[in-house]
């Protein structure tokens, strides 16, 4: 369903993604793992259109995503969640979901505004949003402001927003990050329930327990390359993978710094303190 075909991403001199090729099949959950800086997020961001692709193709069905603007990628049936929550904070939860269902044609948007058409369709969209909220146990929060919800709930709302448009490909970027045990368990159930024959799911996650328990296949990345691919048990016993995870963290950090590079902001990452990136 989602295919990376010899994809390369250069950040300056550094190849953050180096000739990656693999396919994500529908009906199963594919996890992408790897140490920090392995290129997982870059991969997601390229597929979703946030980063350009240096060379290679990314396909959903026959559609080449790398040529499309971001919003057309969404229309092609790919949706995602974000590592750092990006909800529309000031809007109600149900409105957040409705955004994903806004008719793509601006002409019909205008017609709707003047009340010329689309009343029934608007009702139906609203109903769909409520249905999804119901399914994720968020019905009670439908009219609450998204920004006012607890962190775990916000993560779920983001998931709801990603699935309400019935995507063919769903990219989950660290959905369990920051969740407590109970919430992670809940999330796991929701993800498992989402599994469907015509939906390809990609899961990027650091929580190994979660990954091992729900992934059907696992892609291991290191330094921008695919190191191994297989089922949970195959990966666990792969020596190359073990080496990568025990390897030098310093080198990885360099790559990450480069990947996020060229921004003049102070960031504090664990154990790093204050650094300055000069323009």
């Amino acid at each position: 369903m989602l295919k990376f075909d010899h994809v390369t991403k250069q950040f300056g001199e550094l190849a953050a993604i180096d000739d990656v090729t693999f396919e994500v099949k529908p009906g199963i959950i594919t996890a992408v793992i790897g140490p920090n800086g392995a290129g997982k997020s870059t991969l997601v961001n390229m597929a979703a259109g946030s980063y350009g692709v240096t060379s290679g193709r990314i396909l959903v069905g026959d559609t080449e995503l790398q040529k499309l603007p971001k919003y057309r990628i969404a229309h092609a049936g790919l949706s995602r969640t974000y590592q750092n929550i990006r909800l529309f904070d000031g809007m109600s939860v149900v409105k957040n979901l409705e955004v994903a269902l806004v008719p793509p044609r601006v002409g019909s948007l205008i017609a709707n505004t003047f009340g010329l058409s689309g009343r029934a369709a608007a009702e139906e969209r609203r109903a769909r949003c409520h249905a999804v909220l119901e399914r994720l146990g968020l019905a009670a929060y439908a009219e609450r402001q998204a920004g006012s919800l607890a962190y775990g709930q916000q993560k779920l709302v983001e998931l709801a927003r990603a699935i309400v448009a019935e995507p063919r490909v769903l990219l989950l970027d660290e959905p369990a990050a920051g969740l407590n045990h109970g919430e992670t368990e809940q999330l796991k159930q929701h993800i498992l329930a989402l599994r469907a024959p015509d939906l390809a799911m990609v899961l990027i996650e650091h929580d190994m327990k979660l990954i091992m328990s729900i992934s059907d296949t696992i892609v291991v990345m290191n330094r921008g390359r695919v190191l191994a691919q297989g089922t949970a048990s195959e990966i666990r016993t792969n020596t190359e993978v073990q080496e990568a995870y025990l390897g030098q963290p310093g080198a990885i950090k360099d790559i990450e710094a480069a990947a996020r590079g060229r921004r003049n902001r102070v960031r504090i990452r664990e154990g790093e303190g204050l650094t300055w990136h000069q323009p």
Binding site: S50, Y51, R262, R263, V266, R267
Partner: protein, 313 residues
Amino acid sequence: MGALILQQTINALTVGSIYALIALGYTMVYGVLRLINFAHSELFTAGAFIGLALAGALGVAGHPTGGLLVGFITFVIIGLAGVSVEIVAYRPLRGTSRLAPMLSALGMAVVIQNAVMLIGGRRPLIYPSFLPSGVIDVFGAIITYKQITIFLVAVILMVALELFVNRTNLGVRIRAVAENAETASLVGINPNMAISLIFFIGPGLGAVAGILYSSFYGVATFTMGFVIGMKAFTAAILGGIGSIPGAVLGGFLLGFIETFATAWMPVLTGGLIGTEYRDIFAFSVLVLILLFRPAGLLGEHVSEETIVYKSDF
């Protein structure tokens, strides 16, 4: 022809120096608070008026050395005024919305302008020049000592500011807050202190610009801030707002654009486009530059995924 080009270049540098000095105040405040400080231009005017009053009180009107003293005291007074304006009108609004402080600044601008009018009067004040007088003739172009002094003072102040921000402990704190107030406070920097410092330096520099400006043109009016403020702000945007070198570059560039539009556009178009199209030309250049460099000349283009602020306003 050569003399004319040289002459216009000197004219442009003089105007540009003043734009650049004022632009610094906008860019520093913007860099930290993302606030268009409309009150800045009025503090510039207030600086000129206070400088004049001080010169009268100290009896040093028209002396270049006395001017240094007057400039220093005015810097401090207007700097403190800037700090007070921030504490009264902007600080309570921090974290509400981006438009609220901006319009509060607009209200403050009206207040300051009218206060200057009521205290200083409506009459354009004849301004004693603190700048040395005299001219030199260079290949047929006339350069006045005033122009040279303005340019030098502006350059010295800008270099001093750049050094202060980059080389001193306080400066690094300001930059840390500018980059990310939250992170800075995690490492023990009090953002309020840094913001107050910025509101001291920015308007202070603006006040010095006000004295230079009035000294150079020989007049101070209570309404003079609005238009020049708008131009200086445009200069700051042109250079890339939030960037100190950008404000300087933008200021000089705007000076050049205006000067050359006035001097050559009527000639080049055979009188079809007159000098009255100067502002249109200046704004068109601004738009074009922003289209190719959406964050200004020296501003940084922030990629989508690293944008810290999700919404624009």
